[in-house]
Symmetry: C2
Amino acid sequence: MTQQTQDKKLCMIPGPIEFHENVLDAVSTHATSHVDPRFINVFGETLENLREVFAAKNAQPVVISGSGTLGWDIVASNLAQEGDNVLVLTTGYFGDRFTECFQAYKANPTQLKATPGDRPTLEQIEKALSEKEYKILTVTHVDTSTGVVSDVKAITELVRRVSPNTLVVVDAVCAAVAEELYFDEWDVDVLLTASQKAIGVPPGLSILVISQRALGVYESRTTPVANYYASLAKWLPIMKAYEARKPSYFATPAVQLIYGLNVALKQIIKTGPKAIFEAHKKAAVDFRAHVEGLGLKLVPVNHEVAANAMTAVWFPEGITAADFVPHLFGKGVVVAGGLLADIGPKYFRVGHMGLSVVEPERGYVEKTKQVVAEGLSHFGYKGASQ
Amino acid sequence: MTQQTQDKKLCMIPGPIEFHENVLDAVSTHATSHVDPRFINVFGETLENLREVFAAKNAQPVVISGSGTLGWDIVASNLAQEGDNVLVLTTGYFGDRFTECFQAYKANPTQLKATPGDRPTLEQIEKALSEKEYKILTVTHVDTSTGVVSDVKAITELVRRVSPNTLVVVDAVCAAVAEELYFDEWDVDVLLTASQKAIGVPPGLSILVISQRALGVYESRTTPVANYYASLAKWLPIMKAYEARKPSYFATPAVQLIYGLNVALKQIIKTGPKAIFEAHKKAAVDFRAHVEGLGLKLVPVNHEVAANAMTAVWFPEGITAADFVPHLFGKGVVVAGGLLADIGPKYFRVGHMGLSVVEPERGYVEKTKQVVAEGLSHFGYKGASQ
C-alpha cells in the first residue's frame, strides 16, 4: 500500500491536500539523528522561515510532533489558568471543539456562535467583550466544517480598541498560507496551524507562532501548566536551541516531516505569500462561480464570509454525501462530505489550497470542477434550470 | 537537504535508527485522505498487527501523532487522578522525566532510583510496594540514557503477587520489538513506545497498547481527564472505528507515517518477534564483547542489566563525547554522547536495533564496531593493554 502500489486519487478535501513531489521526497529523507548538525540547521532554518512566511519577526515559532488539535492544548494549558474567561468565536465544528479543550483545562469558555454558514458580527463581538473581562479570544480563521472565513484583521483591531490585553488566538489550521494574515502588523497573539493544509506537508506537525504579549501572559502564570507534552516550559528552550543551531532534547522531533516542512516553506517564500494569497482568492472565486453556475448554493451565507481555502456546498434535493462522495472517489477525485452534526450528509466540501491553486497548470481544480458537475448529473440533477 | 542531496551517515544512535527502504518509500505515499477507505484499511490492519507483534490479543492498541513522550501524558492524564500514588522505577534520565510528567498531572509519584548503570532489585521493589498502596508502577524497559534493561517479566509477577491491582506501565520506547515482552502472557497493563526505535519508522508516532485492566481503571475515574489531545475518551472510539474499517474523526492522523508503520509491522511479523528478539540478543552480546575486548567498561554494571537494543560505554581517560562523536560523524557513523547530567561527556551510546541487527548482512554494526575502535585509537587510546 505504498506510493508504488496504491492507485492515485486526487486528494481535494480541505486537508490533507496534494503534496509537491519535492516535499514527499524530503519526508523520506534517510535516517538522521535529531541532533545531527545538518538536521539542527534544517530545523533552525525552518523556524526562521516560519517567521518570514507569517510576517512574524517578533514572535516565537514552535513546531511539535502532533496534529493541529495539539495546538489547542498548547494554548489552553499554557495561556489560560483555571477559571480564566475565554471568548470562543464559533463558525462551525472547530469552535465547539476548541471550547471543549478549554473546559478540559478548567478555563471558562463562552461561545459566541453564529448559525451554520455565518459568523458573529463585529457588533456582537464588541458587545460580548464589553460584558466580561476576557483573557483570551479565539477565532477560527477558516472553519473546515463550513468553509466560513473570519475577518481576523477587523477582529484584532476591535480587540485592541475595546479590550487591549485580551490575547487574540487564531486557529489557522485550514487557513494558514491560504488566507491573508500578517502576524506582527495585525497584532495577532497566537497563530496555530498544522502541516497538512495549505502549507502542504503530510500530517503530523503542530505549528504555532506566539507573540511576545502571549509569552508575557504565559510567563506571568501563577499556577503550573497542567500538562507535560504541551508545556511551553519544555519546548521554548528547544526551539531557541534549534534556532541558535545548538543540540537540545526534550522529545524526539518528527525529523522527516520537518525536512518536508523545510522544503515546503522555501517553496512558499520563493512564490511569495502575497502571490499565494492571491492565487487562493482567484481559485475560490472561480470555484464558487462554477458551483453557483450549476445552480448550487454555498454553505457560507454570502461571498464575503466564504473562505479562499475551501468551499462548502449544499447538495440539491435528492443527493447526499453517502452517494456523491464515493461516486467521485470512483472517478478519481476525493472530496469530503459535511462535518456538522445532523446536516453533514446534506453538503460537501472541496479544498482548493496549496499546490492545486499555486500550480493551476496541474489541472487539479479543473478536474474537480468537472467531476463535480458530472457527478451531479449522474445522480439526475439537471442544473440551474431545474 | 533531502534524500538526494544530504550526504548519508549511518544513524547508529539509540533511535532514530536506520530505516528500511520500503518504510521510507511508504512514508512518502502520495496525498491520501484520513477517511479514504484504503487508508482506513491500512490503519485498521496496523492496529491489528500491533496486537500480534506485542502478543496483546486482549488489549487496545492506540496510535497517535506525537513523540514517545506523549505516551507518558496519555498514561498520567488518563490512568492517574490527583493524589494517586505512582511508583516510578528509575534506571536513568527517563524515569526522572516520567516522574515530572506525573507531577504535572498532580499525581503523587515516588521514585525508586538505582545508581547510574544499575536497576532497583526485586527486594527493593517489593519493600516499596509494601509501604504504600500504589495505583501505578512504571518501569523503563530500556533506559536510553544508560542502556540498562529492566526485568519486566519478574517485576510484573512480583506486582501481581504482592499488589495485584497496581497497574504495570512499561515505558518501552527504546525496547519494543528489541527486548522480549509478551503483553497478555506477562500480564502487563500498558506498553508505550514510539515509531523511531526498533520498530523502524521515522519519528512522529506515539504507540500504546492498553490492557482491559487499565481500561477499567480509566473507566472508573471519578474526575474528568485534565487533557484534551491525550484524552482516551477521544481516541478509543477512533481506534475502534479504524479497526472496524469505519470512518471517524477526532484529529487528523499522521497518514504517511502510518503507511510506514504498516510496512514495518508486516516486516516484523514476517521475520517473527522471537527471531527478532534473538537477533538483538546476539548483536548485543557481540557488541559488548567488542568494546570490552578493547578494554572499555560498560555503563551497565553487569551483563545481566545490559540492554539488547543498545550499549552505553564509558570512555577511557582523556577522551570525551565532544571529541569522539564528531570524529565518528566525520567517518560516516553517528553515535550519541551520554545523556545523564554531569557524566554525559564521559560515555557514549550506540543503538544496535531494528534493521541493523535484523539484516546484519548490511554491515552497519560491523562498520560501527570498526570506527569505534579506530576512533579510540585516533585519540591515542592503546586498548586493553594500557
